[in-house]
Amino acid sequence: MEKRRTLSVDIGSQNTRAWLFEQREEGYALVCSAVAETSAASGQDLRGGVNRALEALQEKSGLRLLDLHQKLIRAEEGVGACGLSLSAGKPIRTVLAGISDTYSLAALRRLVSLFYTDVVLEIDLQSDLNATAQLEKLIAANADLFVCAGGTNQGAIRPVRAALDNLRIVYQSLPRLIRPQLVYAGNEALTDYAREELEAGEDFHRARNIQARTDAESLAAAWPAMLGAFRRLRRQQLPGLAELEQDWECEALPSAFAASRIVRLIDRMNPGGKGAMALDVGCNSTIVLAARGEDFIGSISHPPISEQVGKETSRYSTLPIDAQTAAAYMLNKKLHQAFLPATLEDLAIEQAWTRVRLHYALRRTRELFPWFGYDPELGLLDPYEPVLLSGESLVRVPAPQQTLLMALDGLQPHGITTFAMDKDQLLAGLGSLAEKEALLPVQVIDSGVFSNLGTAICADASERSSRRVLTLEIDRGESARETLEIRKGEIKRVETTPPGPTRIYLSPNELTDVGMGFPGLGGWVTVPPSEVGTVIDARGRPLELPEEMTRRSEAFYNWLWELGG
């Protein structure tokens, strides 16, 4: 029987990644992956980079994927379904127009946060801004995308009508080479009016009301319209994209949106679980995705480089490095994004900056989604399991222990969770195939493409430093059980090597919370084999770091040593 093959490609700002999957007797499996430099600069055709990635994929897999004309070989002897995701391209200049700052504008910020947008203007339709000033601002924004919402389905219409009038003038008057896209996700009584009024043809994207009732918000109601707008813009901006979509019979998804499908899928694969989270830290942006039941949170943030960020980075460095040196490193890295740390000092700054970027991204996510359980002081309060780590800054690291410590310091989780690593940076690649081959992501995930980095047991105790807060009894299936005492301020590792799972009995003291329900409550935990093992983090929340730079870097060094890194 001919094996069914499926291809997925993710076009990033620097790299184009390609993955080839194959249907085997036991289900779909990843055959191999390849990376090539993205060709999107200066109006270059995207297909150049894609073809180079496919050539590398051919070489690795030994399978012929491209014909003599560099076209993908389809049908029975070639590739069946294709998936395409995209994060290349400049941020989409976006204007949000909503009926109030705290209500519809807040929802719109959440809506556009996964679509690589740069919100250049927000218009509160109930503010004092007069129509002339509003129009002037809309024109000056020179936006690629206008997203308008406001009003429940039986709510106010007058301010929205006035805004639509201005949007029509902006759309019709400016002779932009790339036509702006208009998404309407407000009061459904006005949808037809909006379409007729704007006269924007296929540049108008109608969505269901994201706030049909005052007590309900559904961002998913506007996702199809946002995807339509995203694709139309990117097809105009990125040469070769439209042709690629046509040849491959697929439509591109924003990479973060594609990845979010897999996070939601992982959550659904564990019904009644704690929820799933994915963090992607790259040189340009940090992506936070979290799903639990019907709740979904997603954001892309671009941390600034400032004096404060320099200070924070210096604070989290494993070597004594001052804020100015850290800031110089970050600014130089911004100039040369492919730069990789070759020295211990550069690595220390890079990893400290990763922690700071995680803090910033979680804070930003909390600003967008006020119900997101994160406190800048106390860390991640909501339990998520697994937490999937991805992106160059978390994956391209000398040792897995370093990745795990960065994640623990960046998130400061509570209770018990498992960290997994997406070494092949597959999330987006799987997400863009989820609609066409629904079984593929499930089976590929089940095949173990995400490596189990380790289990973290965070013991939060209002005890003084060095006091015993937790006792562990470790059962490896052998006759004798090991016992381990954990003191406040310590981080310890229990190796959990194959073949079998390890059982750990947690016996916290009465002031220690290990996430079993309330302080003092313990119990058995079964942990699977993992790269780092089970890490018991009793350093407390917030993480207390020595004030003096040398002592602080020693503390990080010692923690990493405890993890075996």
Binding site: S42, R168, E197, L340
Partner: protein, 351 residues
Amino acid sequence: MSTEILAIACDQQILRSYTLPFTGSVLVRTGQEVEAGQPVAEIQMPERYQVFDAINGLKINPKNIDRHIERLVGEPVKAGDVIAQKSGLISRLFRASQDGMVVAIRDGRITLALGEKKLQVLATFPGTVVEIIPERGAVVAVQGLLLQGVWGNGLNSSGELTRLEPTESAAGKKQTTADLQGKIAALPHIADEAAFTALLARKPAGLVLGSVMPELLPALAEAPLPVMVLVGYGEYEIDTLSTAMLRQMEGQMVSLNANEADASEQSRPDLILPGKAQVSPGLFHEELQLEPGRHVRLLGKPYTGSIGEIVELPAEPEKFASGLVMRAVVVRREDELIVRVPRENVELILE
């Protein structure tokens, strides 16, 4: 892996597109010589817009609004023209305050586009138009000396290049005279804001800096004149090739295009000394890649800014001091020291 290309070239064909963000009129033709600052393309746009709510402004019954509006959409208007009126004992009028056009009438709201402004895109160096981009602009070419940098604040200007000694930027050494007026000044390093302010007081037309300290970035970004950084943030010397290029340009009229560096557009800020040689429009650059014999500039401590020649490109990845395993490039620096650095951490020099 993407290799950054840095041009420090003596006889380089320099091509630059000048395009409008909107469709407009191209003002030049192929083969035409253009000067720095000459408009290449332009578009006329309304200077401002005005939205007038005739229902509330003139106290008109919405049902009768059509009777009171005197103009149609698309109709041009002159300053003083009546656009809408309500007659009566005391008549109320809405007049155009400037020449313009009615762009919309909806629900009693009249939108006027008033006045006119030109949006132009200007050539930043003298050269020859080699290609017209219909309705948007043109490509201008020149043969000359090209020195690229890593950061620019988005401005550009022209002037005679003068090189300053490192001591001339020391904060204590204050000079209040405008002795740099009209000149592009190049100097190795600026350490603090006081030194930068003192330099600005000498009224240069532009600045080319080897390196700057990170805390100076906001001041550089806000500076009213073009500023370009050649090497990066921190305290680094200007590499020898760039220094030699600055020496060649010294005393001559140069164009400083301190564009914001944009990796997605493969664009960098640069300093150009236009030459007299004829441009050859059909000529394409050879594709540069890392190979033995090529010169590179090194990134990352302790080598930042030093120049060397590639002597070897090992096929197998190597483990570096950081613990990361990366593909290396072996470089012989100018001081004959042989160093191994990750391939990502070099800029390939286009000479």
